[in-house]
Amino acid sequence: MPALRNARTEALRSAPPDSWVALSDDETHVVAVGRTYEEVVAASDNAGITDPIIVKTPVVWSSFSV
């Protein structure tokens, strides 16, 4: 579990800020990136990943108080 956790965390850390990313089913790899939700879905489809998990990345990774 720690390895998966670290892989997920590092995948998100390496993703472009303020963007939309598609994660692999095990959430350890970014399989597509887009400026919008629709862009990342299209990129994910082009990569052959039809059931990704989509994450919106913030401008900076910081603690949330929402």
Binding site: M1, R5, N6, R8, T9, E10, L12, R13, W20, A22, E27, T36, Y37, E38, V41, S44, D51, P52, I53, I54, V55, K56, P58, V59, V60, W61, S62, S63, F64, S65, V66
Partner: protein, 141 residues
């Protein structure tokens, strides 16, 4: 159903746990297919569910034509959201939600009191590693 918290980068090069689940939304007016699964943060302090405008556009909403609602976060800065009725797909059920949409959200979605916490009982359990929570659909009479 039990869910582990998910890990996210923190500003110091480490990680933090967030109470997040994968959800989908759909536009009942357009009979559109639901979005792909996206991560949304459980936020019991939020009055209602709020989603990023990019998701709204993808399901055919002209998001700025929704009813205007001003929200205020901890910074005190008002944010304009536009309300639309959507279907929220969560493990264990589909609920109709009057949700806010804004392009000023730093994440895909917030699951707030109206629409989410009024329909699901959430029990947080910090005793495990990773911590987690249990989600149970409430069926009101």
């Amino acid at each position: 159903m039990k869910y582990p918290y998910k890990s996210y980068p923190d500003p110091k090069g480490g990680y933090d746990w967030w109470a997040v689940i994968n959800v989908q939304i759909a536009n009942p007016a357009k009979h559109s297919p639901p979005t792909k699964r996206f991560e949304a943060l459980l936020d019991s302090g939020a009055s209602r569910c709020v989603f990023h405008a990019s998701l709204g556009s993808a399901i055919g909403l002209d998001f700025q034509r929704g009813e205007v609602e001003e929200t205020v976060g901890v910074s005190g800065t008002p944010t304009i959201t536009y309300l639309h009725s959507v279907l929220l797909y969560v493990d264990g059920g589909i609920v109709k939600v009057r949700a806010g949409f804004t392009d000023r959200l730093p994440l895909g979605g917030l699951l707030g009191r109206k629409g989410f916490f009024e329909n699901f009982k959430v029990t947080f359990d910090p005793s495990s590693e990773p911590p987690g929570f249990e989600l149970e659909r409430i069926h009101k009479a």
